[in-house]
Point group: C2
Chain length 200, copies 2
Amino acid sequence: MDVQEQALDATRQDNTCRILNAAERLFKHYGYTKTNVADIARDLGMSPANIYRFFSSKADIHHALAKRMLEEAYVAAAANAQRPVSATERLRDHVLQQHRMTLETMFSEKKVHEMVVVAMEQQWPVIQQHLERIRLLLADLVRQGIAAGEFREQNADLAAECFMSSSVMLCHPQLIADALLETRIGTPEDLVEFALRAIR
Amino acid sequence: MDVQEQALDATRQDNTCRILNAAERLFKHYGYTKTNVADIARDLGMSPANIYRFFSSKADIHHALAKRMLEEAYVAAAANAQRPVSATERLRDHVLQQHRMTLETMFSEKKVHEMVVVAMEQQWPVIQQHLERIRLLLADLVRQGIAAGEFREQNADLAAECFMSSSVMLCHPQLIADALLETRIGTPEDLVEFALRAIR
DNA sequence: CGAATGACGAAATATGAAAAACGTCAGTCG
DNA sequence: CGACTGACGTTTTTCATATTTCGTCATTCG
């Protein structure tokens, strides 16, 4: 790749990023369906057709935004996973952090929540991949916990998956929305402790 | 209550039951929305208006059917809970049984599954009550397990709730529908064992 | 020459009137 | 007298149509 090609890629990346920023702002304000590509183009002072030089469709913008947001979530999860505390505490905090973030999105960014629900209903690969990356992260935490003597010997990948499945009620956006009204005996902390016990 | 009133109640109950039977058959065959009360009435050789002497609305029929089906499910769960095997085994089989029944409904009785999804989305109290009854059943199993030395001393009600939350991926109709395609490391049995470990 | 656009066909969505279904009630019939 | 019904007002659904939005492409412009 020569200097000219680098410059081309740079401007291209810059454009895609600007489009994503505009789309994210408009989607959050007006909602995904109420925002059309003409709105996004006007916001950036370009023609609607020009958008399609960078994204193959409006849905493609949605996908790219989801990917970017999930990347942020992954960075946060990775940061938590590197904290210098016990594996137990990092696993616990991971779930609680996830829980808080989901609640936050549900309440203060309702439009985003709608987009998330659509993405989950349609089973986007980007979400599956994100969950798989998270699972790898947690599996590593389990291995560290085993090495540190916190957890028993076990299949770390399986344990990570089961741990995620067990805490799905705290992280799954739709379930959280439903479960808010339910009469509950235990707190989120109780459920995490329960799942942690299964690993020890 | 004298003899006459008993007879009245009997015929009334008989009518409600016949209506429910007809409605259940038609709903299963044509779907809930495609079946109207006129269809149900015609099937029974009565006028649509007469239906409303027994049910205040079509939705009321839906509610009553859900209650009847959940009652059957509860009976099955209660039967399992009384088997003369260890509490561990009964808890495990309860979840696996629930899992099988949900899968069965999803595949062979798709119309019923749609009705279930609607009921869950709308958070019908009858479902909450059913789950609460199941939880009491499981809490009792946990107590028996504690008494038998299978499980450690703990809050049985909390444990039952956490156990149900942990196995929600195996029992929640919508989640099962979604998770079918996912790449999975563990089997349903693995997840149940995981949750059981948390109680021991 | 390639980035950008206006014009345009295809696809999706909003609109509104017609039809169907819901649910009520005065009145019939056994 | 009371179980039951036909007729009817109201609400919901359907469906054909108009409008918007999507996404493409030949053409323009720097």
